[in-house]
C-alpha cells in the first residue's frame, strides 16, 4: 500500500497557496475543509453562492441561525466585514472573474484542464448546483482529490469519461500523492511525496506527467 496524504492533509496543502486578502470559494463537502488550515497570518475571505462574503465556521450546536447557512446548507457564522447579497450578485462575483480562487472536488481531471465533478452518469437524479459556474469564474480553479478512485483507477486522465463540468478550466490539482499544474494541455509535476518514485507516480496517473523544472517534496504535517 502506497503512502498517501489524508483528505485533511490535501486540504492543508491547498490552503498554503491561498494568499493574504484572497477571495475564495470552497466547493461543498471535502473542499470546505481547506478553511480550517488557512495560515493564521493571512486573511482569506470566503464566498458562498447563496449570498455571503466573509463567513466563518459553524456555531456551536443549538446556536444555529438557519437564515445563516453556506451552500452546503450548513449553519455558519459571520466575521467582521461580512456582507449579504442576492444570487445574481453572488454569481456576478463568480462569473465576472472577481474570485481569486475556487477549490473544488473531482471525479476526473483531464490533462487539458477539463473537469468532471457533477455527475457519475445517467442513473439517479442529476444535480449540478454552482459547479459549472464556479469553474468559469474564479481566476484560479484548483482541484483537491485522492490521486486514484476507490478501486485504484487514475482520476487524472487524458480525457474525462464522465459528464463534464467545464472545459479547460482547472489550473492546479492537489492530490494525495502530488501537486500538479495544468499548463498547455499537459500535467506538469510540481511536488510529489518524498519516498515516491516518479515511475510509481506515473503508474497511477492516466496521462503523461511532464517535468517542467525542479520537483519539490510534498511535505505535509500530521493534521
Amino acid at each position: 500500500m502506497m503512502h498517501k496524504l489524508s483528505n485533511a492533509q490535501i486540504a492543508w496543502r491547498a490552503a498554503q497557496d491561498i494568499t493574504d486578502g484572497a477571495y475564495v470559494n470552497l466547493g461543498i463537502g471535502f473542499p470546505e475543509m481547506v478553511a480550517k488550515f488557512q495560515p493564521p497570518d493571512r486573511q482569506a475571505i470566503f464566498h458562498t453562492e447563496n449570498g455571503i462574503l466573509n463567513f466563518g465556521e459553524s456555531p456551536p450546536e443549538g446556536e444555529e441561525d438557519w437564515d445563516l447557512i453556506n451552500a452546503g446548507k450548513k449553519a455558519v457564522t459571520l466575521k467582521p466585514g461580512a456582507s449579504f447579497f442576492h444570487h445574481a450578485d453572488s454569481f456576478a462575483m463568480v462569473r465576472g472573474g472577481h474570485l481569486d480562487v475556487a477549490i473544488l472536488g473531482a471525479y476526473e481531471v483531464a490533462e487539458t484542464g477539463d473537469l468532471a465533478n457533477w455527475s457519475t452518469g445517467p442513473k439517479g437524479v442529476p444535480a449540478v448546483g454552482g459547479a459549472m459556474d464556479l469553474v468559469h469564474g474564479a481566476r484560479r480553479v484548483a482541484v483537491i482529490t485522492d490521486h486514484v478512485t476507490r478501486d485504484g483507477k487514475p482520476k487524472l486522465v487524458k480525457n474525462c469519461t464522465l459528464p463534464l463540468t467545464g472545459v479547460a478550466c482547472v489550473s492546479r490539482v492537489y492530490t494525495s500523492l502530488a501537486v500538479i499544474d495544468i499548463e498547455g494541455g499537459r500535467f506538469v509535476l510540481r511536488e510529489k511525496l518524498p519516498g515516491l518514485s516518479l515511475d510509481d507516480l506515473q503508474a497511477v496517473t492516466g496521462a503523461q506527467l511532464v517535468i517542467g523544472g525542479a520537483v519539490g517534496d510534498l511535505i505535509v504535517p500530521e493534521v
Binding site: L68, I69, H86, A88, F91, V125, M132, D133
Partner: protein
C-alpha cells in the same frame, strides 16, 4: 396604496392550475413555508392549484414545503439547480417513476435567467456549461476569443417569497442570507406575493435599506411567527 392582505388564503387566491411559480429560498433559508402550506391547504380543499411548474434552487426536503407540494401531487415540473437535500425522497420517487419533470439549470445561470426575466432581457451569453451536456441544443458564440452559451430569460406567473420587513407599498428587506433568489424572483413574476415577518407603515424602512422596491411587489401578508424549514425538519414535521 396598501398592498397588505389579511389572510394567506386571500394572498394566494389567484394561483391557478398550470402556472409557473417561482418560490424563494435556498434550502430552508428564505423559504416561504407558510404560503407554500396555504397552497397545499387550498389544493386539499378544492383540487387546485395543480399541474404547477415550480422554480426554486432545490426540489424540497423531507415532508414539508415544496416536498409536501410534490407529495400532494401538485407539481408537474421542477426547474432547479440541485434537486438533492438531506431528505430528497419526495422528488426522487416521482422523478424515478417518471411522474415529475426536471429542468436542471446551473445555479448561476438560474439566477441570471430569472434576473434577465425581470429586467426584460430575453437572452444572454454565459461561459457556464459550455462544452457540457447542459449546453446541448443551445446556441453558442465566441466573444473576444472565448466560447459562450446562449441562455433564455425565465419568467413566472407568480412569485412567492419571504421577507423580513415589508411596508404597505411593498418595499422589502430580508433577513441575513434568506435573501438569495427572492429579489430576482420578485421582478420576474407577473404577480409577486410576499410573506413578511412584519408589515410596517411607509417610511418606517430607511430607503437606503430597501432591498426590493415595492414596484416589484403586489401582495403582502404578515406571518409574524414564520417557521424555519430546517427547524421543522429536525422536529420531524410532516405537512
Amino acid at each position: 396604496m396598501d398592498k397588505s392582505v389579511a389572510t394567506m388564503a386571500a394572498a394566494i387566491a389567484d394561483i391557478a392550475d398550470g402556472m409557473t411559480i417561482m418560490i424563494g429560498g435556498f434550502g430552508g433559508s428564505g423559504a416561504p413555508i407558510e404560503l407554500i402550506h396555504a397552497l397545499i391547504d387550498r389544493f386539499r380543499a378544492t383540487g387546485s392549484p395543480k399541474n404547477l411548474t415550480i422554480v426554486n434552487n432545490n426540489a424540497g426536503n423531507g415532508r414539508i414545503g415544496i416536498a409536501a407540494m410534490i407529495d400532494a401531487g401538485m407539481v408537474a415540473k421542477m426547474v432547479c439547480s440541485f434537486p438533492r437535500s438531506a431528505d430528497p425522497r419526495a422528488f426522487t420517487e416521482k422523478y424515478l417513476a417518471g411522474e415529475i419533470g426536471l429542468e436542471l439549470v446551473p445555479q448561476g445561470t438560474l439566477a441570471e435567467r430569472i434576473r434577465a426575466g425581470g429586467a426584460g432581457i430575453p437572452a444572454f451569453y454565459t461561459p457556464t456549461s459550455y462544452g457540457t451536456d447542459l449546453a446541448k441544443g443551445k446556441p453558442t458564440a465566441q466573444f473576444d476569443g472565448r466560447m459562450y452559451v446562449q441562455e433564455r430569460w425565465l419568467k413566472a406567473d407568480a412569485a412567492i417569497i419571504k421577507a423580513e420587513l415589508a411596508d404597505r407599498q411593498g418595499n422589502l428587506t430580508y433577513r441575513k442570507a434568506a435573501r438569495n433568489f427572492s429579489p430576482l424572483m420578485a421582478a420576474a413574476a407577473s404577480v409577486t406575493i410576499v410573506q413578511a415577518t412584519r408589515i410596517v407603515e411607509p417610511g418606517a424602512i430607511d430607503p437606503e435599506a430597501v432591498i426590493t422596491p415595492g414596484i416589484f411587489v403586489n401582495r403582502i401578508v404578515e406571518i409574524s411567527d414564520a417557521q424555519q424549514e430546517e427547524a421543522l425538519m429536525r422536529a420531524g414535521v410532516a405537512y
